[in-house]
Assembly symmetry: C2
Homo-oligomer: 152 residues x 2
DNA sequence: AATGATTCCGCATAAATATGCGCATATATC
DNA sequence: GATATATGCGCATATTTATGCGGAATCATT
């Protein structure tokens, strides 16, 4: 078995596709997802695959190399679209944006995969960002400030 | 203890600085490095710190968010400077570059933090890249091809 | 087709990481 | 200053990830 088997290449490609759709929390979950797609592999193989693929692990789970920092960068790019930022209780951050930009901002926040962010919804000029608690919220504000090079 | 303690902030800043210098292989090694700098903390705390900092883990260890994908991108930017690429045994890859560009290329390869790369040295127009074995070397060539959008 | 060289991958397990819990401590409110 | 509330962090441990080893499979050479 001197050469990379067809199966191996296919499986890795499948993993790449899975990760592109959404980050994987654990290797185990990837194993399960692979099974659904008709691949049989153990956690061991997935561990090795991830290393070869060059995947990284951040707070959001395993992701492809590009996707990781992409979030921060993407957020930086929409920094100008942010208008205001204020907390509504310890679990909700309300972000005002230029009209029509909320979706983009929400998407960028999603991709950051920051641990403080539980989830986002973007309307027209407002984004609601759910946070896990007061500390997380404070942190998040700092982090947004850093990423956008602005102070709030 | 409602607020982040001074110690915690300092410690996290120290971790950031450490990671900026070089990636950390394990959390344990970070604990040790912190001790040298006068911080006392357990692996548990470092685990939580890394999450808060937003650090990511790739094949090279823990790194700051930006630094991760930066390598691949940096390599893509110097793609034009590559002239030739050939293996010398299973553990050495010899990369010819434009005159004077070898250092930059070697640096970019370093930052990729790819598992196949054991180490790099850049001369004037030649880079020596040590690989862990034949398979790794083949992989590396593929990967360089992908990153530089060229075939070798 | 036998031999050898190489790679894949599962198993078992070592190694590393994440987390529930509880105490200590800090802040807020009264 | 007493009480209530919230946070930091260590300990112990559950969970997750990495890896040494060996058997099976593939290919090259003779």
């Amino acid at each position: 078995m001197p050469n990379s088997s067809e199966t191996q290449l296919d499986r890795r490609e499948a993993i790449r596709q899975l990760l592109q759709k959404r980050p994987a929390a654990t290797q185990r979950s990837l194993v399960d997802a692979l099974v659904e797609r008709g691949f049989v592999a153990t956690q061991s193989s997935v561990s090795r695959d991830l290393r070869e693929i060059g995947a990284i692990k951040n707070a959001g789970g395993y992701a492809l190399p590009g996707a990781a920092a992409a979030g921060d960068e993407e957020l930086a790019q929409v920094a100008d679209l942010l208008v205001d930022l204020k907390a509504a209780g310890p679990n909700l951050l309300v972000i005002r944006t230029e009209t029509g930009a909320a979706q983009r901002v929400a998407l960028a926040l999603d991709r950051c995969q920051w641990p403080e962010i539980v989830g986002n919804v973007g309307g027209d000029d407002t984004v609601f960002t759910a946070t896990s608690g007061a500390a997380a919220q404070r942190n998040l504000i700092t982090r947004i400030g850093r990423a956008t090079s602005r102070h709030w």
